[in-house]
Symmetry: C2
Subunit: 568 residues, 2 copies
């Protein structure tokens, strides 16, 4: 947008009153680290002057602080179960005006159409939403996801205005082994100077160096200061994550403080944060507040939430309260407590109104295509009791692989308090592929759970001890075309439909929360231990990039040995 116009120049030079002036602010300058008493003159959604100004309209800030709108450097909008605008409208009133999203889940189910939906849906938000092109669809080559995105498919995306760069490169072995497909994707973005997000976490010096040479510029997976510094030394920008499940801020910020490290190489992100946590704690505002509470200079914390991110992602014109910058502002009652008084996006005060959902393309509402052979598939005939078992750990997404004697009756697996049936149905292409496994840790007695949310391929997962309940659960999710369901033997299913790609719903979050609460209670009443969130834990049972063992459409997958076991 060209802000250098005759009328704006007259505002800037004070020859004419600007359309809107925020009077008597304390403006935080991210370039000089100063807090300066000044008015902020706005026009055309941009800042046209900082200093003494008069406006056609004036709002008195009464000495309140003005900081740039916050930026979430990396998040997945799909992980809330809600259509994307619901998360944004809640995070927006908490100060986050810029979102760099990776529509990885949508892409795994619906490919480019899924990405386009996220873009269309968020376009109506009064926020800056940028998209990183998902790099690993599917997340590993053998996976049966709804779509594949190859380098060739990505060439067209480079011209989409929302696309900033290449999304989190999770397939690190493909980078380290210079695999062809990955090299093509990396070079496509690297050669055009686009940002490439990494997914390293705890790489050693040499691996991190090679990732940097491949073009990777960020990492949001570091959980310790030491991991972060190994990457930062290679010029990789660290996105400090504080979300619902993964919380790395305390460890990394403590290290920064202890070593007096400059914050220049650091930004904030949430990765995955549920709406109830956003409502309770805030969004990026929470990262800032927590960092300050640990002892970080508040100015450094605000810079990590604003200008550092803008620089990393080449978002010229965002991240500062300065002339020529977009008027995305947060007005604070208290600088250290991050007490938000009001939020401006493009010079207009944000009201927190949810935009009308966009028209959802039909194919995205019709994504559960299971070639279901019938209830017999749940029988699970076993030749011997000694079987590979997937064990979940309370509060963790890593699983444990063991080989155990499981109960067998009449030549069939007989679930017990300890061992349950776990089946995964390929649900995108109706291939009829079914993976069968034995699960430890869910303890369902007399019922079943099912879900179409199953990272990253989002096939249909059913857990239970009772074949009729499992059959019912599966049929229910085919009927509603995706969602969560819980079935107590002999009763009707309780269901949360996730009609959009089987991942999200346009139902308001309050209703979703209420329904989900009841369903979780029902799951616990069926036996799921209190330390396990039944649907979230279930959603990670299929993720083959996380150790130690997973269920896939080809059977039980040992992530360490990269091999499959068939239960038989």
């Amino acid at each position: 947008m060209n802000i250098y116009t005759k009328s704006n120049a007259e505002y800037t030079l004070g020859k004419k009153k600007a359309p809107l002036v925020l009077k008597n602010g304390r403006v935080f300058n991210v370039f000089t680290n100063e807090i300066i008493r000044a008015d902020v003159a706005l026009a055309d959604g941009m800042i046209v002057g900082i200093g003494e100004y008069e406006g056609e309209r004036e709002e008195n800030l009464d000495g309140r602080y003005v900081v740039p709108g916050f930026m979430d450097a990396h998040l997945h909008l799909e992980s809330t179960l809600l259509n994307p605008t619901q998360l944004i409208s809640q995070a927006l009133i908490r100060g986050t005006t810029t979102y760099i999203v990776d529509p990885h889940e949508a892409a795994n189910v619906s490919g480019l159409d899924g990405i386009r939906y996220i873009i269309e849906e968020t376009r109506q938000c009064r926020a800056n939403v940028y998209v990183m092109a998902p790099s690993c669809v599917p997340s590993v080559p053998f996976e049966k996801s709804g779509a594949r995105i190859e380098a060739e498919d990505m060439e067209g995306m480079l011209s989409w205005p929302e696309i900033l760069g290449l999304g989190e490169v999770m397939d690190v072995p493909a980078v380290l082994n210079l695999e062809d497909g990955m090299m093509k994707k990396l070079s496509l973005f690297r050669e055009r100077g686009r940002v490439i997000d990494g997914h390293g976490g705890s790489l050693d010096e040499r691996e991190s160096a090679l990732c940097r040479m491949a073009g990777i510029r960020t990492d949001h997976e570091c959980t310790t200061y030491e991991d972060a510094m190994r990457e930062a030394r290679n010029g990789i920008h660290i996105l400090i994550r504080e979300g619902t499940a993964a919380r790395n801020l305390t460890a990394i910020v403590r290290g920064i403080l202890e070593h007096g490290t400059s914050t220049d190489s650091f930004s904030f992100c949430t990765d995955d944060k549920h709406i109830e946590d956003i409502i309770r704690d805030g969004h990026i505002s929470h990262n800032i507040r927590k960092a300050i509470s640990l002892g970080l200079d508040p100015r450094e914390a605000y810079k990590m939430a604003t200008i550092h991110t803008a620089r990393c992602y080449h978002l010229d014109g965002l991240g500062a309260v300065a002339p020529g910058y977009q008027a995305d502002l947060v007005v604070l009652d208290d600088f250290e407590k991050v007490a938000i008084h009001s939020v401006y996006y493009r010079g207009e005060r944000v009201q927190g109104i949810l935009p009308k959902p966009c028209r959802i393309p039909k194919p995205l509402l019709n994504t559960v295509h299971v070639d279901y052979p019938g209830i017999e598939v749940f029988r699970m005939p076993l030749e011997t009791g000694r079987q590979p078992v997937i064990e979940v750990q309370p509060g963790e997404i890593v699983t444990k692989l063991s080989f155990e004697d499981v109960p067998v009756e009449n030549g069939r697996f007989a679930p017990s308090d300890t061992h349950q049936k776990l089946l995964l149905f390929e649900r995108h292409h109706g291939t009829g592929m079914v993976g069968k496994g034995i699960l430890k840790g869910f303890s369902i007695r007399g019922g079943a759970l099912a879900s179409t949310v199953g990272h990253d391929s989002h096939n249909l997962i059913v857990i239970g001890d009772d074949d009729e309940s499992m059959d019912r659960a599966l049929r229910e999710l085919i009927r509603v075309q995706g969602g969560y369901t819980v079935v107590k033997k002999g009763t009707e299913p309780m269901t949360l439909p996730l009609e959009i790609m089987g991942l999200m719903t346009a139902v308001p979050y309050q209703d979703v929360q209420k329904r989900l609460k009841k369903m979780i209670e029902e799951a616990h009443s069926l036996g799921v231990p209190s330390g396990i969130d039944p649907f979230i834990t279930m959603s990670f049972l299929a993720l083959p990039v996380i150790p130690e063992v997973r269920i896939t459409s080809m059977g039980v997958y040992d992530t360490k040995q990269s091999c499959w076991y068939q239960v038989k």
Copy 2:
């Protein structure tokens, strides 16, 4: 350049010996501010690893410091009187591996051909030479320069790989008044995200804000900390200048130290630095050394000479000693004293060998086209003794305008110890335009000086008290097609030919220095006071963007009133 190749990966991962390893260094990491004991592995002119490495070839650094090659963020190569490679080969062995040059003088004489010559000539240097497209050719609209460069002419330049952005925008009034031609140039570069260099100096808050909105991102003209901060607050990057004439480092760095200001908004440049000063003091190494001697943390000083500049100019892959970065390195015996042991460019040790000059296009050797009416032009008939007088000040380039009684004899101006003749001949297009003025401060008795170096239009200037000597000086510079000359009445001219555009010579700098020394002595023996460098002072007498009064081809120009006076 793609560094992410199978063979480089093997070097990085330590599976194969790298072609060259610098062993046992103390590597300064610009991202983390750490100094780390490590080897530096090099391949393909790039850094492929920092850590423990073995090489096919190894050089032992014996614990010496390794820092990134220095960057001069803004300089004019023409101002040394030497063809560009001479300056670079001297500065290179003093650690400067990257040059962001503005070929403003070459462009004013020879337009795009002049710029192309600078690019061709420097391409052979073992250094990174980037070019900012000169924005003000001529420097003010009325000037009679050798070429005009309009926005339309610049469109093609955008695809030249050496062109980074738009060169110093000296015509600040054109920016503040949103003049059409300037707006076109600015938008051409701004809309493509290219860097635009400013030339503000001491703008007020509002002017600086408007420059920022116009797209200007740097300023190298700030002489005080306060001026610098007014710009920095608007996100303008400050290039701290320390050259031959203008020296702003002490003032600005003292301010930084006093206020504890972050160095993030600051870089170093020389703007204009003569080769003898480079040889005596160093180049950017001198800026670093001086900043450290003032008390700046050496690490901050090195960052201002490297990564800050790389970031400002979007020079991804330069400015750090890290994997994936170009292997431009300075090895230091002493970190605080900037004692240079050796310099590497693209992984090869720099030897300081002068490259062979490129073939100079004929038109660039034939640029002095004066339509000379004969010796009568020097007579200067005057009607009255009261005349506008241009007064030079020792050690300054600003001049003073006064109206004084000057000696008149036989209806003609009669030079004295105080008042001299000053004539400027349009020399590019043979228009026959001659500007006449009266100069105070040169005190030449019995002789003349002449020059084709006259910022920024580089017309032919003659000063003297004796018409025959002035005629002889002028004819001499036509004969040699540009240069400096000094003529003592009745003797042969002493001349330094500057055959390349009348600005530069391919003669080795040692010979130039010897010759120039003698000529300056001769000028002083003719009466030029010792506080005045005759040729440098003369070269600024025509520069209409500096107060208070100048000689132009249209007469004596009052820069404050923007009007001309004719001497008559």
